[in-house]
Symmetry: C2
Subunit: 300 residues, 2 copies
């Protein structure tokens, strides 16, 4: 990858990664947390931020999250060794298409998005030759938004899924793996397809459910939500997540989600059967299985 | 109600309630928390506990949660001015039937259950004449169980729904209202039917959903649950609740739940339609409505 990444091969590489210039595209909660994490771990020199709202970029700069901000994509990525897509996935491809001629030779491009699938192959295709795309998905709370709650240690101790393909550059993959390891994440690699199967089930479907149970209670009676207790608030916390972001993710993963929704609806129909029959034993068995599985994830 | 309740009418009654003897039937998380709260607020003399497991009663006594414990219902309620049903709702009626001849004249009987409906009328009928039933539902986390996490201030600042009927004794209602007010709860009265409509939507349906999303992920792939992040854990925290308790609640409220489930499933079918059509705008509208409603409940 050349001298840009000062990886000294004689040392464990995750102690020696240094990126002169990083561009964060989308300075929201995750983008800002990553910027802070990179600075805290001294993984980079300068960080430039790209975004749609100047006020946010100015605020991010004032708080030392980024060193410079720009509404101009080409300016933001200029001379960057690493470019991180931290914007809603719906604008990935058009953004990548706009930047391709302006990328530094050998630049590594990555993302922090919750969806991989065909995007990874399309990004790879759009950016090559000259730059290298490696998909990444740090598992971190997404219901927060904005830079006010950005956290340099957000990724520490949490999983980060990396989704290389057969075409992935080994050097670029090393850099992304090393980066996340250095930030304290537990790396796991999957194919983009595996990733979307897994996170369709444990993340995307749950978001749809959280949004729709809120809508359902409002449908039942417009004043009932005021009686929601802690359990309901926990259940629906992820419904605070960005509608725009999750719209894109769900549309992108719609094939898996359609199948997952059918499985979920079939389960609910089964519960309806137990209720209709006042079949307490079957209902308890359903609940007991779920409770025991949930218990395996720990209290919090 | 006689001298048993030392309510001095010249003072605000909620400062002057004192019950000589209280029986807690079911010394679990809620029962134990109520016992601690009654002691902390000096609302009673002695507390007896009734339960199925001697070891739990001994532990509760050792920790000063109850003053005496008994596996014998009649012994536990002997001479009690207030009897609190804090056991699974499925055993309410048989327990009430067993105790009716042994109740102190004028005793007040109440509960802390999540379901009211016909139970309230049946309890009222079973216990009269001689004793008075007033239904109550303190809104407090139910996914915890056991006395280890019992909390004297669990009810403070939270709602407590009281469900009097046309037959309710005014004195008994006063005692129960005063009790919960003294513990810091925000009292609200509803009919038993209103209560079950409201909490079917904001509590019982959400429990079914939490249990069934866990089962769904396990159905999709037995290894996927290990990838569950904080959002999934929040969403499914109430699936840690007692399967036995929630089986009883759901069966008892099955008429409301069947209708609520249909409304929820119709919402999910609508989402499927948006996904099939890749209709990003409609999907975003759904999510945005939910997100804004959820935001109205506050972050936590």
């Amino acid at each position: 990858m050349g001298e840009k990444f000062k990886v000294l091969p004689s040392q464990p590489s995750h102690n020696n990664l240094f990126l002169n210039r990083v561009a964060i595209l989308g300075v929201g909660f995750i983008g800002a947390s990553l910027a802070l994490a990179l600075k805290t771990h001294r993984l980079c020199g300068e960080i430039s931020g790209f975004g749609r709202r100047e006020s946010n970029l100015i605020r991010a700069q004032e708080r030392g999250i980024i060193d410079s901000g720009s509404l101009d994509l080409i300016e933001a990525i200029s001379d960057a060794d690493l470019i991180v897509f931290a914007m809603p996935v719906g604008v990935f491809l058009e953004t990548a298409a706009m930047m391709r001629g302006a990328l530094k030779e050998g630049a590594v491009v990555t993302d922090v998005g919750s969806i991989k699938g065909t995007f990874v192959y399309e990004m790879e295709e759009l950016l090559s030759p000259g730059a290298f795309f490696i998909g990444a998905h740090p598992i971190a709370g997404s219901e927060k938004s904005g830079i006010d709650t950005a956290d340099a240690y957000l990724f520490s101790g949490n999983r980060c899924i990396i989704t290389p393909t057969e075409r992935s550059s080994k050097d670029a993959l090393d850099i992304i793996s090393t980066l996340w390891k250095t930030l304290g994440a537990r790396i796991e690699t999957m194919t983009p397809e595996e990733h979307d199967n897994v996170f369709g089930a444990v993340s995307h479907l749950p978001h749809i459910i959280a949004y729709e149970i809120v809508n359902t209670v409002e449908d039942i009676n417009g004043i009932y939500l005021r009686y929601a207790g802690q359990g309901f608030k926990d259940l629906t916390r992820i419904a605070l997540s960005s509608p725009e972001l999750w719209r894109d993710i769900c549309i992108a993963n719609r094939v898996n989600l359609l199948s997952d929704l059918d499985i979920f609806i079939a389960r609910l129909e089964r519960v309806k059967g137990h209720l209709l029959a006042s079949d307490a034993r079957s209902l308890e068995e359903e609940f007991r299985r779920a409770s025991s599985l949930r218990d395996g994830l720990g209290q919090n």
